[in-house]
């Protein structure tokens, strides 16, 4: 059981800055995120794209912003739990108990949901029978590549994940790479490599094809793919891999009893608390009259939610407002030596 003052759900810019604000007022926190790294949408959707509306920073990329925020919260030694999704929530006396997908448990005084538009999950095939094979012979990510040795693998997608795995697996497996158009979104060098391997007969490339159906009993035996012009081809396949990027899903938070409307959580604007005492929501996931989905708004919301957490974490203490420029306590927490 991890006991801390506040659990932050989501390691995007808003969650990271909220951790800073909690640290400044002397509260501890830990952060859970379903991705394998901090940064949220900034790192997953637009790491290289510039952002122009962070106050006092004329231009920076999503990656740079994330790194700066991580730098800024370093003094607080915040513990991250990545690749974890929050699942269960229980109120035990005045504390919240939360359990993640990986079985990690938390005991906290307050929760800040900074979950963006939800946790990132792999985008899946649209045909129904795929569910039957998911996890046994159909995958959206690869954990153990050794199972593919000497097998026939059909890979769908045109981005870097699809191309990289097609190239890598073509060394030890028979690979079909299937993509809906001639163009690819992956890096040019990989596209060239795939075309070379196709010319050498080390990989079969099918473009302008999409999945049509799967067949097999417990495992996939063969798949049918359909060309833009309607032609259907059947190919033998032991495994199917789909790499269509990530989508955001709200997941189990939907069942926590929060006021949720169109995937966003209603909060007050005094401290961004939800309809449930001790649970706050900030950033893109929260909604209130006049809400702007800007990173700077998320920072503001995080600062106020952090103060809102104080009364749950330190019910017998009074929070004094202080500036970091002059507060000895804040500077000590930041580890500043004079």
């Amino acid at each position: 059981m991890n006991k801390t003052d506040v659990l932050i759900i989501g390691a995007g810019p808003t969650g990271l800055f909220c951790a800073h604000q909690l640290g400044i007022i002397g509260l501890s926190c830990e952060i859970v995120d379903n991705l394998d790294k901090a940064g949220g949408q900034c790192i997953e959707l637009y790491p290289d794209k510039p952002i122009y509306d962070i106050p006092a920073i004329p231009e920076c990329t999503g990656e740079k912003l994330t790194n700066n925020l991580l730098q800024q919260i370093k003094p607080f030694k915040v513990k991250f739990h990545l690749n974890e999704r929050v699942e269960q929530l229980k109120k035990i006396e005045n504390r919240w108990h939360i359990k993640t997908s990986g079985g990690i448990e938390f005991d906290v005084a307050a929760i800040v949901i900074a979950g963006g538009v939800g946790s990132f999950e792999p985008r899946k095939f649209s045909i129904k029978e795929c569910e039957k094979f998911e996890g046994s012979s159909l995958f959206y990510s690869i954990k153990d590549k050794s199972i593919f040795k000497d097998k026939t693998i059909s890979i769908f997608g045109g981005g870097d994940s699809a191309l990289d795995w097609a190239i890598e697996l073509s060394n030890t497996s028979k690979v079909n790479l299937i993509h809906r158009r001639d163009g690819f979104s992956g890096v040019e060098a990989s596209v060239q490599k795939v075309k070379e391997l196709n010319d050498q007969g080390k990989l079969n490339l099918f473009t302008k094809y999409q999945i049509d159906s799967l067949s097999g009993d417990k495992k996939i035996d063969s798949i049918k793919i359909k060309h833009d012009d309607g032609e259907i081809k059947e190919i033998k396949s032991d495994y199917v891999l789909g790499f269509f990027g990530l989508i955001m899903q709200l997941g189990p938070i939907l069942d926590w009893g929060l006021n949720i409307n169109k995937k966003i959580i209603e909060v007050n604007t005094e401290n961004f608390e939800t309809n449930i005492n001790g649970i706050f929501a900030i950033g893109d996931i929260c909604s209130y009259p006049g809400k702007l989905k800007l990173i700077l708004s998320g920072f503001h919301e995080g600062a106020l939610a952090a103060r809102g957490c104080f009364k749950y974490a330190r019910p017998d203490e009074k929070l004094r407002f202080e500036f970091t420029t002059t507060s000895k306590a804040a500077q000590e927490r930041l580890g500043i030596k004079k």
Partner: protein, 106 residues
């Protein structure tokens, strides 16, 4: 004001007046047309505002910017008439544009 016709998956037709300068995505979101999620808010980063454009309108639309086709790879059942509605800005020339919203976005 130009009218945009949104055909939703439940076989309903919504004819909506959308102000010039807004995107077809914004027109849908502001008028609660079901099926346009627009998770990323118009940043061409999520493919959840994907629509099928009626053939006769395809060549009247602004050409796809770099990246839109890449993003459409991620869309739910993309076809040759697929577009991201956040990339179509409404103007008088698009009065009467018909878009069809897929059964789901993910």
């Amino acid at each position: 004001m130009p009218k945009i016709i949104y055909n939703t998956h439940d076989k309903k037709t919504h004819a909506i007046d959308v102000q010039n300068g807004l995107t077809v995505m914004e027109g849908a979101v502001q008028n609660d047309i079901p099926g346009i999620d627009a998770d990323c808010g118009g940043g061409m980063a999520c493919a959840t505002c994907h629509v099928y454009v009626n053939e006769e309108w395809l060549d009247k639309l602004p050409t796809k910017e770099d990246g839109e086709e890449d993003m459409l790879d991620m869309a739910f059942e993309p076809k040759s008439n697929s577009r991201l509605s956040c990339q179509i800005t409404v103007s008088d020339e698009l009065d009467g544009l018909v878009v069809n919203i897929p059964s789901k976005q993910s």
